[in-house]
Symmetry: D2
Subunit: 154 residues, 4 copies
């Protein structure tokens, strides 16, 4: 008696040849009165893509925060805007790792509509302790990134 609620697992994206691809759909909340996506929102899409990538690499951010180990924080972000996205657009965030250090990772991200690059984002994220100080990222996290990174040049 009683049927279960249909449940669709939200996608984490796909990994392909050392790159991660993540879909984003544009809703009302994303646009502003110019009719286009508000510029700061592209940083949100890039962060969704990075979090999904971390999940796919087996990294549990929430457990690390709750255990007081720390979290990734953005240290640097450089954005170039080439063309705007609009309501109902279906975009892809492409992410690749361009530098891996003891306490930080540098990623190159592109927000694509089909083959067109709308926005380019270079991001450096550092691991920080709960007190905000830089800290070596957990070894398993670094190893996961390293393996992902390696696939790129294969």
């Amino acid at each position: 008696m009683g049927t279960a609620t249909p449940h669709i697992q939200p996608t984490q994206g796909i990994l392909d040849a050392g790159k991660h691809y993540f879909p984003v759909r544009i809703y009302y909340e994303d646009t502003d009165l110019s009719g286009m996506v508000y510029h700061a929102n592209y940083l949100r899409y890039c962060e969704r893509a990075r979090s999904s990538l971390l999940n796919m690499l087996g990294i549990d951010q929430r457990a690390a925060i709750e255990a007081g180990e720390g979290n990734y924080a953005v240290a640097e972000a450089n954005m170039r805007f080439f063309a705007p996205a609009r309501l109902d657009d279906s975009l892809t965030v492409q992410t690749e790792c361009v530098e891996l250090k003891a306490a930080s990772v540098r990623l190159a991200q592109k927000v694509l509509r089909g083959e067109d690059c709308l926005v380019e984002v270079q991001v450096r994220v550092g691991f920080v302790a709960p007190n905000g100080r830089p800290r070596r990222q957990p070894d398993l996290w670094r190893a996961a990134f390293s393996e992902f990174f390696a696939k790129e040049s294969e």
Copy 2:
């Protein structure tokens, strides 16, 4: 020469027995310092679900706005919060139509985590002309809602 970017179509959810089900994943941007989802964000998830439902019913909101016909605007929203969502949670927004009038629609929405209802939202959206005045919703839109509505009681 050159391979296409892997593209994943973002899901619009599924229609089942007169109800619409839409997946939402919780990211950093959704939470606040309490560790839980910021309360206003549930309205955003419900709007994403409604927009996806409209798309599945063949209703093109962007074309209607660009043609100066008008758009849906929220006239009323009643929310009950039962339990909080957290980072990495995978939720489902369930939507059903509870009243269909000439210029407005009333929808009952639930934000679910598995079988648990976290938040309940009753929403009334009205169709408005570009000058903000209420206007009869387009006949085709009403017919689409009507058909969706009918499936519920089958």
Copy 3:
């Protein structure tokens, strides 16, 4: 040597005859492609007003969270939308306390443009422990609300 950065203290609003008044200005980020304020954002303005009211009453939310005492969480919100706000509008959020219980407070809020009420929000916030369970609000907080509440009927 060197001169200090000019610093303007952001306003917390004013208290007058048992009501709190808080200014909000509408920026690009607040609007959507309809040219009007995205509906969920009014909940953010109401929360800014409540937080500012708490500050004026001498309640330190951040200290309470950091000490593990707990925080206020929205349990119920009922919104009526009468007219839309637009870019560069200068609004006022009016807040009054309509019910004070051991673990919760009910507030009536209005988002005003001049004398016009754009949105009405009835909100019930409950105090919750870090584990999410309802908890009696701190005595000092309740006393502060009680005093504020009393001024209304004077």
Copy 4:
């Protein structure tokens, strides 16, 4: 018979020696589960500051959009994050103009807490026609920026 609602005009900030200073207060909505401000939000504060600066220079963005003339769009943003802001922090966004061209302006912005610089943002905004193409900014706007710019070196 009836008293007017107390109305506090939201501040536009102050102009001093060719720089603009704008206050921002941190609310729940601004933070994430790390307890700090979500990184993308600093772009919102910088945009609030730029819009307020435009207003103070006599530039009416909303009128220009509604007249179909065009609007400023961010073309480039480079962010460095030095220290995080937290709930209830009272910040100042400092803005100065570093380059003025026919169709674009480059601004250097700092998000300050007291004398500490938390985030640095270099932004290039271009004027675009409603079709998204670059367009010369209105002469009066350019003149206003030019005058503001000149004050810096006085």
